[in-house]
Subunit: 553 residues, 2 copies
């Protein structure tokens, strides 16, 4: 159609503008019709937390020990009575109460006069530590890149005695150091009734492991369960000390572990709905969301791999529980995330990881030098196949009819472009980097044949230049790949060595960051601000319980 009259042209342009505008508004929020319903469901599923009051089991000193984790160990120094039965003064300032276990919740204490009258306020400092090093390491001057406020030291002014005081912020700790910063010379007082109101949304006790399970596997399972339990609050948190919120990547691993342990399906559902309800107006999931003061997403935080993992997590949940309602409710979201794969998949079947890396946060691991080409390619194939499996569970294959072909195209391209037959490794990027991550994702995605996967995975340990996992999160995918490829012995060995390494170092809960060669590693430039109870490290629970033939004998 040719437009000649300016007037007509103008009118037509105007009509186009209206149509385009309307289309644009619609495109801006593909979930407009569902969003409030999802948030309502999330709210209805919000768990009532179980509260358990915990008492310290002893007093400890934190002492230097080169062999201990991060160079500090807690040494039993007697019963808590020595604190309760004596005056608190400069003499015992710095005393450390040990609750004997990791807890998440609220701390309170009682101040009582012992001699004289309280003629001045008290100034007390409480330092809460998940691990001994947090108690021993000065926090200031603070060199970290995250907020100094994550560190759990609180200064409290007490104006009346007796009084029982609750520290307002929620805390996560095992150890509490108490220091006296100010008091009257005319007033002798004592600290007593130190309590921690521990919270979790866990209400069940998982089955015991098989009788023949080794002690180390039992220990790993126990600590994994504790880690998961501590992170299961009103959402799956990433860590109860930090960042205390729902991230898709952590949700994925927690929901897997939950399926084989606490079976709190409602919490998983709540998190799926919450993330969907708080997704961006263009349909993209936001990597993490907050609950307070009202549910909201960290809008600017778009993390490409996490979008894909939402689909994987949803599929695993629906497959394991048969809960098709959640699957059907959230299918529009899962379908939408695939657009990002379509967008970055080139005609050659390779994901444009450079472009994606410029436009998104592509995470995969706390490892700056990890090349993202292979891992993104592998996850894309995996997400396509898992999403299609979800479609099949829901009878919605027709809505994503292009997926099988696209998945195959990406898979074939990956094999063609990334597999180095000579070395037997999958390589990544312009420097042809060999990493644990690349071998893991090429295995999980099925790009590698079983034989190729076994060769690649087994070859890693002999390759000094292979890029290791930076955190337990990536180690999960490596472990999953070992199992997927049938390397049962290696899988058990890897799990026992890696998570068992934390056990040997005295972990009560598994850590956000664990590099056996560098205990001080921190993505935030200050290891005390690391989280030492971190959701993405709990997955031995999943492996041990899903594969008893590997781990429980």
């Amino acid at each position: 159609m040719e437009l000649t009259k300016p007037g007509t042209k103008f009118i037509l342009l105007f009509c186009f503008a209206i149509v385009f505008g309307a289309a644009k508004v619609k495109a801006q929020d593909p979930y407009a019709a569902y969003r409030q319903g999802w948030l309502k469901k999330a709210e209805d599923l919000k768990p009532k937390l179980t509260e358990t009051v915990k008492q310290p089991i002893s007093v400890v000193t934190v002492e230097k020990d080169a062999a201990a984790f991060q160079g500090w160990k807690a040494v039993n120094a007697g019963g808590i009575d020595q604190l309760y039965n004596s005056a608190f003064s400069k003499k015992n300032s710095g005393i450390i109460a040990d609750f004997g276990e990791h807890m998440t919740g609220y701390f309170n204490f009682t101040i009582k006069g012992r001699r004289g009258d309280m003629d001045a306020p008290l100034r007390l400092k409480f330092t809460f530590g998940e691990v001994p090093s947090e108690i021993a390491t000065p926090f200031d001057p603070y060199p970290g890149t995250l907020s100094r406020a994550w560190l759990q030291d609180e200064i409290v002014t007490v104006t009346v005695a007796p009084s029982t005081i609750t520290i307002p912020r929620r805390l996560a700790c095992r150890y509490v150091k108490i220091e006296l910063l100010g008091s009257s010379p005319y007033f002798e007082f004592g600290i007593s009734n130190i309590e921690f109101k521990a919270t979790t949304s866990v209400t069940t006790t998982p089955a015991a492991l098989s009788a023949g399970t080794s002690q180390m596997i039992k220990d790993i399972d126990r600590v994994g369960l504790t880690t998961l339990k501590e992170c299961m609050q009103t959402v799956y948190e990433d860590g109860p000390k930090r960042d205390r919120r729902l991230w898709i990547g952590d949700l994925y691993l927690e929901s897997l572990a939950n399926l084989y342990s606490f079976k709190n399906d409602d919490l998983t559902k709540r998190c799926f709905y919450l993330l969907a309800g708080l997704s961006a107006e263009d349909g993209v999931l936001i990597s993490n969301v907050f609950e307070a003061p009202e549910p909201h997403a960290q809008k600017g935080n778009r993390l490409l791999d996490y979008c894909f993992l939402y689909n994987v997590a949803l599929k695993e949940y629906v497959a394991a529980t048969g809960d098709k309602q959640v699957g059907n409710d959230l299918w529009p979201v899962a379908k939408k995330q695939l657009d990002m794969i379509r967008k970055y998949a080139g005609d050659d079947g390779m994901m444009d990881y450079v472009k994606a890396g410029k436009e998104w946060w592509v995470f995969f691991d706390w490892k700056n030098d990890l090349d993202k080409q292979a891992v993104l390619q592998g996850l894309s194939v995996y997400a396509l196949n898992q999403t299609y499996a979800l479609a099949k569970l829901l009878g919605k294959e027709s809505e994503v009819a292009d997926i099988p072909a696209l998945a195959k195209k990406l898979k074939d391209a990956a094999h063609k472009n990334l597999y180095d037959k000579k070395s037997g490794f999958f390589v990544s990027g312009v420097d042809k980097q060999v990493s644990y991550g690349a071998q893991a994702w090429m295995t999980l995605s099925g790009v590698a044949s079983k034989a190729e996967a076994q060769r690649a995975l087994k070859g890693l340990t002999g390759l000094a230049t292979a890029v290791h996992p930076g955190a337990p999160y990536m180690f999960h995918y490596y472990e999953a790949a070992l199992i997927e490829s049938g390397l049962k012995t290696e899988a058990k060995e890897a799990l026992t060595t890696y998570w068992g390494g934390m056990i040997k170092k005295g972990a009560d809960t598994f850590w956000e960051v664990y590099d056996p060669n560098d205990e001080f590693k921190s993505p935030y430039n200050f290891y005390p601000v690391n989280s030492y109870c971190h959701a993405w490290s709990c997955t031995p629970v999943y492996f041990i319980r899903k594969y008893p033939e590997i781990f429980q004998q």
Copy 2:
């Protein structure tokens, strides 16, 4: 009676023991029958505080200035909007809000996000100052002898935005410094709605001074009224920052000032009953009492001169108000305090101040080198005479019939032993010390004739070695003595110079300690822990309003 039979002797001793025991129990608590009633009356008289919400009037910087009080001055740096309308960051950390007046009460503020999401807690430090130097002087390492916790700096962790947070402890300040100790680099926030909920039990506005009153006297009166108002909470406090409680010495001066200004008789009555109800079981008044968690006295704190001043305060109150019920109710207490005069009064009519000083805290002034002989002798005479005047008001002279003679005996002995005719001064102690305090108390007690008093008081200014008042508390008695002796010009001059000196230094309220020659003087080894709104410094209100012929023309 002679006791011969052992059996009888034993029985009699046993009977004695019972009688003595019963007598002793009775002697232990002469007010047993009244105590609960007094405490009940005190509770019934507890005022409901008036709350007024205050806003900062500007932002200030605190700058070095050798001419300013303690070397620091607050300089206006614009409207509070510059805080409210900008992001709070390291850039404006340390900003100081100025409320333009001294306030006592509770502080709150609001945190709101401006850009990004709050993905980490905030750590904020608030420092509250009555005077600029408190804002500028580092508190640590703390060299003071009182609790470090009196200093008003609070560290707050904020975990959710928006949120409005109230600092739990009650504060007293004009200035608030706000510092950022920790925040997320991904979250821009603002501080707004800084408010102070100011409390007082004052509900009236005193009459204006005469039109002809000088501006300086008006200013002194205004600042005195503010000082008194700030200290009038649910008791007459000594200072709203520190020590925040009822002391008899402060009560005396506050109740005098109140009689001529706010006329809150109920508060005065409440304090009399509270002190009586919380007196020791041997009938001695305790120097100070606390209200929380329930009313109680600082039992170990027996202060001899304050016991005597209770009687004086009670007499002044009854005389001024005609409220004989309070006088009759509390007469047993007043009568009992005289026992301590009888105890230490020697046959020669001189108080055994050495023995008293060993057995009691004999205060009179924050002045270590003040010899206490003359002041104690003078106050004893004064207390005897004032208590007898109270007895007369109540028609109870017969109960203290020995007092006039005892008072005369002490008075005569004082004149004989302490008056140095040659120099015209009253001297004190083995070193025959000449002090402002001695001349003041010899005048107020009537030991000095009018001519002697005038000579002594006038002579002080020319005597370099005379021991000066250490604090406004003793200056009150010096001022009262000038008036008592008829030295009107000198009285006006002294008041204008001393309290006016604080005015010239920018006082919003009168200070606990003021030595024109040493602005850094502190009885507690650290001047920021001094109270800068202190009850015992408010008495110009009393002088100016009681003696208009001296001050209001």
